[in-house]
């Protein structure tokens, strides 16, 4: 059994072990000395981990805002981690919080907070500490502030609201004779008038009147649907253990109107998000239904772009929207100094959110919205009224931006929009699917 001699050569091993230990020990000692003497000022800088899901132009803007805040606060340094939008982000955030290793600060869609707050994955904000940095409930529009609350506590601080809006091409609208005296698109207030307007634009572009990419995207379908549904003045309630409460008539009418858009004249029947955006950006249509975050893309494309809220077709002004909001993932041990830094950082970002408005979003922080600089931003100011009419997703642990619920909406409704199913059948299927979710145990 000599082949195992190397296990038994204890003399050598022991010596190696001893010398190895000594070497490791000296490295530690050196490191400790360096920590004590050499780098005292660096050691005082507190590192704040910050997770968000903003990519593309939004990500670049956010990075600039973070750098500015870091430069202005030598006591801390915020390190952002960017994760992919949707389920990847929310899954990782939930797992990090549940596992006790979350970042000190994160961004969530306000509509997703009801899935996190009751489960104890996030901590409430302390209003007094926030007020110390000049941020109070009065700093926010009432709708947005109301959305920050869950069970009477403030769980999220909104950075913005980002509604679903209508971009339009001024040249196309002008040639179609659809611009009003003030240079803005004429107002329409019925489904028929809207369809007629789109057809006029199609005559100019020779391609389509409207771009709206929806195939394979539950979020896109839901954004337009919920805008139209809320324009009926209808409500939707999701209470675990009870069937969904909704206005079926309004829902079906909204779906039928959406389906009527995709006749390959008004809008392309087979368009996904990227083709819809590309079509509008190259002047292939007169209008685009999309989120405000698409504004930088359109400006970069060099088309004469303007924007407005989606026309009120059913009587009640409404716009689907969500808010990028700051949340405090629950820490096992709260580091008070870092918490204070987080409050300072958030207040700095809010106060500097004019540059966030340049990315298309409507700032939540009212002093910025009321500033002259914001009023000078066009076309942002043309849809700033959306902040007063925004509608967040109905609250439930499974609803909200990037949720599976929106995917289920696509599953049941896409065939309606493709003209293969009746609107009523698609809607019924969605209601059944939602009721199944509501009937199951609530995991938060």
């Amino acid at each position: 059994m000599k082949q195992f001699e190397f296990f038994e050569g204890r003399q050598l091993s022991r010596r190696q072990l001893l010398s190895g230990t000594a070497a490791v020990g000296s490295v530690f000692a050196a490191a400790a000395l360096a920590g004590c003497g050499g780098n005292a000022s660096a050691a005082a800088v507190r590192d704040i981990q910050f997770w968000h899901l903003l990519s593309g132009g939004d990500g670049i803007k956010m990075q600039a805002m973070i750098s500015k805040a870091n430069d202005g606060n030598p006591g801390f340094k915020v390190h952002p981690t960017v994760l992919a939008w949707g389920p990847p982000y929310y899954t990782k955030l939930a797992m990090a919080s549940a596992g006790g290793r979350p970042p000190q600060l994160a961004i969530m869609h306000a509509s997703r907070v009801p899935g996190y707050a009751p489960g104890g994955l996030i901590d409430p904000w302390d209003l007094d500490q926030l007020a110390a940095f000049g941020v109070t409930p009065q700093s926010f529009a009432p709708r947005i502030w109301d959305k920050s609350q869950n069970n009477g506590k403030i769980f999220s601080i909104a950075l913005d609201s980002h509604p679903f809006v209508m971009f339009y091409n001024r040249d196309v609208a002008g040639k179609a004779g659809l611009l009003a005296g003030n240079g803005l698109l004429q107002e329409v207030n019925s489904p028929e008038d809207f369809l007629a307007m789109a057809r006029e634009m199609q005559k100019v572009t020779k391609a389509h009147g409207l771009s709206f990419g929806y195939l394979g995207s539950g979020s896109q379908m839901w954004r337009l649907f919920y805008t139209l549904y809320k324009q009926h003045g209808a409500d939707m309630e999701l209470t675990p253990g009870k069937p969904m409460v909704a206005d079926n008539e309004a829902a079906i009418e909204s779906l039928e109107f959406m389906a009527s858009l995709f006749d390959d004249t008004i809008a392309a029947q087979s368009g996904d998000i990227s083709t819809g955006i590309a079509e509008f950006a190259r002047g292939g249509s007169g209008m685009l239904f999309s989120g405000v975050w698409e504004l930088p893309t359109m400006k970069k494309a060099g088309i004469p772009v303007d924007a407005a809220t989606i026309p009120t077709l059913y009587g009640t002004p409404a716009a689907y929207a969500d808010s990028h909001s700051f949340v405090l993932p629950r820490q096992l041990n709260v580091d008070d100094a870092k918490r204070r830094d987080v409050y300072k950082f958030v207040s700095d970002i809010l106060k500097g959110s004019l540059s966030w408005a340049e990315a298309g979003h409507i700032p939540a922080y009212q002093p910025v919205v009321q500033s002259q600089a914001y009023r000078d931003l066009t076309p942002q100011i043309h849809y700033a009224n959306a902040a007063d009419i925004i509608a967040y997703d109905p609250e439930a642990w499974f609803s909200g931006s990037g949720s599976d619920w929106q995917t289920y909406f696509a599953e049941t409704v896409q065939n309606v929009l493709l003209g293969r199913d009746k609107a009523a059948d698609g809607w019924d299927a969605f209601v059944r699917r939602t009721n199944t979710l509501l009937s199951r145990p609530n995991p938060v």
Partner: protein, 323 residues
């Protein structure tokens, strides 16, 4: 390791291997004391220990913990982890979405395994007949297998794009109508099968090619002397000689196809209308985005049972063949 080899040689006897029975070691060594035998055993365990530790920590423990979890109402948020017995299983068996996604997985397995085996066989046969530049064929058939699923998915998503995609563009040019590849519930699964075929057929191709090249040339020579043509040789020599390889490829392919997730998640996210959502995605959704870990674990175990059943069938088929 060199000292190990030297000592082995100097002893001038066959080294005892951990896997050999004590009786065999005894016979090989001629005579050995009982204590040396047990030390052999100990050394054997010492060699196997790293693997065993890995096996226990990363396979057996998660397996048992998952089974326990499937009996609880455990949530990702940490709430409600009381034991609830078989309630999750009962709920899963009555869950239409679970059955639908399981059906999708089985459907994909059937419609992907057949072409993945037949096309691989045809490709291997074509290369094996001795085309010039063999390395080029081998490379081009196998190269896609080396790509990451994200790359393949992105690539095919663009090819399938209803308006800007290469495939529809080609269809229009030759006078055929456009197809909504990833958006038509009747077509989407096939579109994923095509992408999967392109991506992974190279592996089966290599297995077939290796097997074909192991068939003795004398068989073909004798057959030619007896006047057998190329087709006759293929069906009477090549195919029968490949039978064990075919059984292996089919079963490996079934197991691989049952695990379908990546390309579906990236190309259709399970749509349109849930028509391509495989059961692995449903497990992911219920557990990680729906927070219900216990329920998700129960579905995993139902699926696990299915895979075990396939493996048992594989075991019996291969045993019958080798008997």
């Amino acid at each position: 390791m060199s000292s190990l080899a030297t000592s082995h040689d100097s002893e001038g006897q066959a080294g005892s291997l951990p896997g050999l029975s004590r009786q065999k070691q005894f016979n090989q060594a001629g005579s050995r004391s009982r204590s040396q035998g047990s030390r052999d055993n100990l050394n054997g365990w010492a060699f196997a220990a790293p693997f065993l530790a890995f096996f226990l920590v990363f396979l057996v423990w998660p397996l048992l913990y998952g089974l326990y979890m499937s009996m609880t109402g455990k949530s990702l948020t940490g709430a409600n982890d009381s034991v609830i017995g078989f309630a999750n299983y009962a709920e899963a068996l009555a869950d239409a979405d679970m059955w639908h996604s399981l059906g999708n997985t089985l459907y994909f397995t059937v419609i992907s395994t057949i072409p993945l085996v037949i096309v691989a066989l045809v490709m291997a046969a074509l290369v094996n007949v001795g085309l010039p530049a063999q390395w080029l064929w081998r490379l081009s058939y196998f190269a896609p297998y080396l790509l990451a699923s994200t790359v393949v998915s992105l690539f095919f998503t663009w090819m399938y794009n209803p308006q800007l995609g290469l495939i529809n563009d080609t269809l229009v040019k030759i006078g055929l109508p456009k197809v909504a590849w990833l958006n038509d519930p009747g077509v989407a699964m096939w579109a994923i099968v095509i992408a999967t075929l392109w991506w992974t057929v190279g592996f089966n191709f290599l297995l077939y090619l290796a097997a074909m090249q192991n068939i003795p040339a004398q068989h073909y020579e004798a057959a030619s002397l007896d006047g057998a043509g190329a087709w006759r040789q293929f069906f009477s020599i090549t195919l029968p000689q490949l039978a064990p390889t075919t059984v292996m490829i089919v079963l490996l392919q079934i197991l691989a196809s049952l695990k379908i997730f990546d390309q579906v998640y990236q190309m259709t996210a399970g749509g349109p209308g849930g028509a391509t959502r495989p059961v692995v995605q449903y497990i992911f959704e219920t557990g990680f985005t729906g927070y219900r870990l216990g329920y998700s674990a129960a579905i995993s175990y139902i699926f696990f049972g299915l895979i075990v059943a396939v493996s048992v069938i594989q075991f019996f088929i291969t045993r019958r063949r080798s008997a």
